[in-house]
Symmetry: C2
Subunit: 320 residues, 2 copies
Amino acid sequence: MTRSLKVAALAGGVGGAKFADGLSRCLPPDDLTVIVNTGDDFEHLGLTVCPDLDTVCYTLAGMANPQTGWGLKGETFHALESLEALGGPEWFHVGDQDLGTHLERTRRLKLGQTLSQVTSHFCEAWKIRPRVLPMTDGPAPTVVLTSEGELPFQEYFVHRQCLPRVSGFRFEGIEQARPAPGVLEALRTADLVVFCPSNPWVSINPILAVPGVRRELEEGRRRRGLPVVAISPIIGGKTVKGPAAKMFSELGIVPSALAVAEHYGRLCSGFVLDLLDEKLVPEVQRLGLQTLATGTLMNSDADRLRLAVEVLDFFGGVRK
Amino acid sequence: MTRSLKVAALAGGVGGAKFADGLSRCLPPDDLTVIVNTGDDFEHLGLTVCPDLDTVCYTLAGMANPQTGWGLKGETFHALESLEALGGPEWFHVGDQDLGTHLERTRRLKLGQTLSQVTSHFCEAWKIRPRVLPMTDGPAPTVVLTSEGELPFQEYFVHRQCLPRVSGFRFEGIEQARPAPGVLEALRTADLVVFCPSNPWVSINPILAVPGVRRELEEGRRRRGLPVVAISPIIGGKTVKGPAAKMFSELGIVPSALAVAEHYGRLCSGFVLDLLDEKLVPEVQRLGLQTLATGTLMNSDADRLRLAVEVLDFFGGVRK
């Protein structure tokens, strides 16, 4: 028996998508809104590519490639092969079906549709029932400050494979960005907000940097005791995937679940860390955070569901 | 034994590509220049698509789909299927490998390369040795005047499947178009010019309408007796492929090889028609044209080669 528990989840790429999928497996669709980072979005071959939105949507639709977590199941790469044979750029490994997504998104954006409208239409076509929102409809590209100068996120992440040493981040134009329609409302009406196990620096921070988002969370916390819970993407000092741990190190912080908890600090009321890091629980609690230590690796659909149920039970406190 | 015979071939789509391929099988690569119609070029999904250039190149590279004559061998359509599932436009049946071509062409054009440069680069990548030139580097889109108003060529040809009744044609911006580098030189140095069996209205006429092209041919004819030979795309009153016969009818002309010969008139010195139309030979000769009646259907690679050899033997007059 479950009574209605409205959840807003902030998500980036693969880890975020998996947890959002876990939530979608145990919440009625109307009770879940996933707010997705668009700082990674970029233009490639003239097409607007939204890596995190696509990863979240492909995952929620059950279309994601189970090996990589991103891209599509049964994908082919014939267009890329043909383009490579002509000397085109091959660093962004785009598949044929995925290309269809980018082509159609770009076409609709050029017709004047907003990214929210396109995303909503895609979700309908892909039969995704929870609400998926981009953090903003405007551009707010993440720029990585590195030992080699400023790099656009995809250049750093895919082309340079996260090799340059990071010294900071910039979310270009974020001051002018407006939360996409529905984002603030979802936070305002949520009974629980979850920061999915996504990169704190380049997945969750860009969302929090959209004007109004952080304030809405702080007010929710203060006025009505809104539980805001982060799930650590760092397990045993390492990230499951992606450069979060490397980024902490290069910024002079020892990477750990504790470092993630400190990163979010008082914006959160709760924190989920892996059993492997159980010894950090007292220190995290000293930060004023309620903690749940459990298995956070999501290797199977069942893992996603179990973790989501545990988080909802523990922090939502409404399931019996 | 063959001495050098420089040939310039004007070509449109499938029929033109097949004959150009026949020429490439019996001429040294340096002796053949194929000048290709770009009036069909259009923008689709933000990409610059050049149907005739691609058909000619794919055919010369041995990459063309043997069933259709256009598109690529072993092609897949995953991007299109994915785009269709999202409600995208499905009328232009673009394959995945073909998409790679359009993406890379568009990328290079956006970098400031000319269509000639891109085409030359593609030919090198595809190991095409004869020279393939677009008629012009600038836009000169063919507009079809129909019972339903003016239609861009691809809209008429692919989307509306040539159904609207034709009343004329317009080559937009052709007055400002300049022949692509090499086009006039190829005509000036040619020992033989061939109009491939392509649509006279929308494949060959656009090339002839590029300022300077017709004059170069007329001067070649007058000053040095340059043989200019057209191959009829109409056999027994019908076209092998495409709307040429329908266009003649709708313009009030009974479609036949004779009608094609009359269409080109004194611009040509020679004419090739199918054995099926041998009875028309006297009438064509009355127009002042030297005629060759032979099998002009190209169902196999051997047909292409044989027809090319016959045309070169008869009109080039230099093989023994």
